[in-house]
């Protein structure tokens, strides 16, 4: 068994995570429908057992988790069966599929002989590395459930519909408009409005990057008002940021996604 204190999250830049999610979605009919039939994808295409259990959420604050045999996903029974928590459960299962796709090798290399060894290993993994792995699965889940082309199309249709109803000025305004549109279109994707808002910003930020940093603007709330995201090369080189300042965006401090991951998780938990 390797030393858990030296555990490093695998290098998975956002582009690769997105590619993997897009590939999985395209490969199965359950992924080509809207909302993406993520539970069917898990059960029937990836051949995972969904194992509902009592108390996972109440006792441990967990909705779902992938077992180390990579054959089953434990899910909180109440959340699994509750229509009110359906979006949340869909996202959680998509997140576990993210671990399966992106972190299969890690699971394969971490076989514990006893429960004590498991306790000790998990406890010793550095918090920041743990956070990176979780962030990757989170990003995968969002991309899997919200295909970017469908999002753009749906978003534009919603904007046009609102404009036709006389809301043109207000739509050009700010984040409130984004929230409004996100809330309206979220059911089509079977996710929370917050997930839609985040995916919208992600697409917007990516298009902005593609234009070599030139200001990207739409006439509506797809415009990103977020700070510029961390560059992929900075992600890859995060351990060397202190020694290679050229990797930072000039004039900014290094940004560690672990922080945003934690914020994201908290807010996600209250919004679905």
């Amino acid at each position: 068994m390797n030393d858990p204190r030296k555990f490093k999250a695998p290098y998975n830049p956002k582009a690769r995570i997105w590619q993997e999610a897009d590939r999985l979605r395209a490969a199965h009919p359950a992924g080509r429908e809207l909302p993406v039939k993520v539970l069917d994808l898990a059960e029937f295409d990836l051949h995972l057992y969904l194992v509902p259990v009592d108390g996972l959420r109440e006792q441990l604050d967990i909705d779902a988790l992938l077992m180390g045999d990579l054959k089953s996903v434990l899910v909180d029974k109440r959340a699994f069966m509750s229509p009110r928590l359906e979006y949340r459960m869909r996202f959680s299962v998509a997140h576990e599929i993210g671990h399966l796709v992106l972190h299969r090798d890690i699971y394969g290399g971490l076989q514990h002989a006893t429960a004590k060894e498991w306790f000790d290993y998990i406890s010793a993994i550095p918090e920041v590395e743990y956070g990176w792995v979780e962030w990757q699965a989170y990003e995968f889940a969002g991309r899997l459930l919200v295909p970017p082309d469908a999002l753009r199309e749906t978003f534009q249709a919603a904007i046009q519909s609102a404009q036709a109803a006389g809301y043109a000025d207000w739509l050009a305004a700010d984040e409130a408009a984004l929230d409004y549109i996100a809330t309206r279109i979220a059911p089509k994707f079977g996710v929370s409005a917050e997930v839609i808002a985040k995916r919208s910003r992600a697409i917007s930020a990516t298009r902005k990057s593609a234009q070599n940093g030139l200001s990207y603007s739409t006439s509506g709330p797809m415009r990103s008002t977020e700070p510029r995201p961390m560059r992929f090369d900075a992600w890859r080189s995060r351990d060397r940021l202190e020694s290679t300042p050229r990797l930072r965006t000039p004039g900014t401090k290094p940004c560690f996604p672990i922080c945003s991951r934690l914020r994201v998780t908290r807010s996600e938990s209250t919004s679905v």
């Binding site: 069917d40 969904l50 259990v53 108390g55 006792q59 967990i62 077992m67 180390g68 938990s269």
Partner: protein, 122 residues
């Protein structure tokens, strides 16, 4: 044999565990245990007939006969999914998505271990 077969029958209809249980009033934890062969199939003929119909089987069809044959074979079998602690340890999860975003404490992990053991007990 029986558990895998009833899961396969459900999969043929692309009917998810959640939908199947909601539609037919099954407890999803128990149903999952039957499908994973943690629980032996019911012996009661009437229950088996009901299940067969819920799974879309037609009386007298090949699958209907196979369903009852597998149920009879597995009814007396001791489930082999009750793993020893050492074997269980190899299957334990690595990363958990807690709602609070925090890594689980040792106390949390002990609770989780108890829950996981419960999924493998009849």
């Amino acid at each position: 044999m029986f558990g895998k077969f009833i899961k396969e029958l459900r999969a043929r209809q692309r009917l998810g565990l959640r939908e199947f249980c909601l539609e037919h009033g099954h407890d999803p934890s128990n149903r999952s245990k039957f499908e994973r062969e943690v629980l032996a199939p019911p012996r009661d003929e009437e229950t088996l007939r009901t299940w067969a119909k819920q799974l879309g089987l037609k009386p007298g069809s090949d699958d209907w006969l196979k369903f009852f044959e597998y149920a009879a074979v597995d009814a007396g079998r001791i489930p082999d999914h009750i793993l020893e602690d050492e074997e269980l340890a190899a299957h334990l999860p690595v990363f958990f998505r807690t709602l609070s975003g925090q890594k689980p404490s040792r106390e949390d992990m002990e609770k989780l271990l108890a829950i996981i053991k419960g999924t493998r007990r009849p």
